[in-house]
């Protein structure tokens, strides 16, 4: 991955931010829902972030499996970068989801299906970051295992949340499916914006991960050669 792509992507994302914010508040119509109304505008960022959360997690899981099988460090770097970015997007999903719940149902947390799924997925990602930080020299293998198992577990989480009547259900049922075309346009534009943002973040994080690894190797080589003490 080259260095040059990152500023371009980040600039495109920045333009996207401005355009989407403008469109969200001027072009997109208010929903007819008497409770949501203006608050529905949270949706454009919340759902776009949720898409990125799942995308980045999937990338992390696949790269982790490939890393375990091939032991090529570049896949590890990519897995680490996308896991951290996914954790960031997950934090935004949870925060905006809670604010949405407060606006729509006047309560900070509801066990709404998709919010519950995001929470469980986010817990795996936080575990991943913790393992990375505290597992010493076997951190890469352990974290890769966690990511692989966590990604394979996503369908189970989905069916579990779907079938479990443990929590009282509340739902905005199918908001995305029934959008009028103006909203759809703004929504997909914001998804595109955050996709660019997400890719730019992952790429720059990959670079710092690779630099860190190379520095570590250089130091080890120096130690082996007796250059450093």
């Amino acid at each position: 991955m080259s260095n040059k792509g990152i500023p371009v992507l980040a600039a495109l994302a920045a333009i996207g931010f401005v355009v989407t914010i403008y469109l969200v508040f001027t072009y997109a119509p208010l929903v007819e829902d008497p409770v949501l109304m203006f608050n529905q505008k949270i949706f454009y960022y919340h759902v776009a972030h949720a898409f990125m959360l799942f995308l980045a997690t999937a990338v992390c899981g696949v790269c982790s499996l490939v890393f375990l099988k091939t032991r090529k460090p570049k896949y590890d770097d990519l897995a680490l970068a996308s896991a951290e970015v996914a954790a960031m997007f997950g934090a935004v999903v949870l925060a905006t989801g809670m604010i949405w719940a407060k606006a729509a149902w006047d309560i900070w947390w509801v066990w709404e299906k998709r919010l519950t799924m995001s929470l469980l997925l986010w817990l795996v990602l936080v575990g991943y970051v913790l393992v990375r930080r505290f597992a010493g020299s076997s951190a890469d293998r352990l974290a890769a295992g966690l990511a692989a198992f966590g990604t394979v577990g996503i369908p189970f989480i989905y069916f579990m949340v779907d079938a479990s009547d443990h929590h009282p259900k509340a739902g905005a049922g199918g908001v995305a499916a029934t959008l009028p075309p103006e909203m759809k346009l703004v929504f997909w534009l914001s998804v595109l914006t955050f996709l660019l943002w997400c890719v730019a973040l992952v790429m720059s994080r990959v670079q710092s991960a690779r630099a860190e690894r190379e520095l570590r190797e250089i130091r080890e080589r120096g130690l082996d050669a007796g250059l450093f003490t």
């Binding site: 109304m37 960022y45 934090a91 604010i99 606006a103 973040l201 710092s208 250089i218 130091r219 120096g222």
Partner: protein, 117 residues
């Protein structure tokens, strides 16, 4: 002494509150109601005026509520702010990492120079 006073107050306040007589149930509600119904039945325009007033009032209340909700920008603002704060936090974290890398490179260079001597 102070504690005793507090204790007495704690006991007294609910007692006094509970001892308040319940608000009297209006016995002549039915009579008033009947008088109103009679008046409305007697004069059709009077009845019409009352219904219109009530309808207009309800409509106004609904409009006010809708306006209040559509202008309730608090939550939208909070959500967008949360996104920016978290993104900024992540960028700060990446920047810190970058600084650490720079320090590490400088350290390596110093070590190399020291070793070359």
């Amino acid at each position: 002494m102070m504690r005793l006073l507090i204790l007495i107050a704690l006991v007294l306040v609910p007692t006094v509150a509970l001892a308040q007589p319940a608000p009297p149930v209006s016995a002549d509600t039915a009579a008033t109601r009947k008088a109103c119904a009679d008046a409305m039945n007697a004069d059709a325009t009077f009845a019409q005026a009352i219904v219109e007033t009530i309808n207009a009032d309800t409509a106004r209340q609904h409009r006010n509520a809708a306006d209040a909700i559509s202008k309730n920008e608090k939550h939208v603002f909070m959500a967008y702010a949360a996104m920016w704060v978290i993104a900024a936090g992540f960028l700060f974290f990446m920047w810190r990492r970058q600084q650490g890398l720079k320090n590490e490179i400088a350290q390596l260079k110093r070590d190399l120079e020291a070793a070359a001597k």
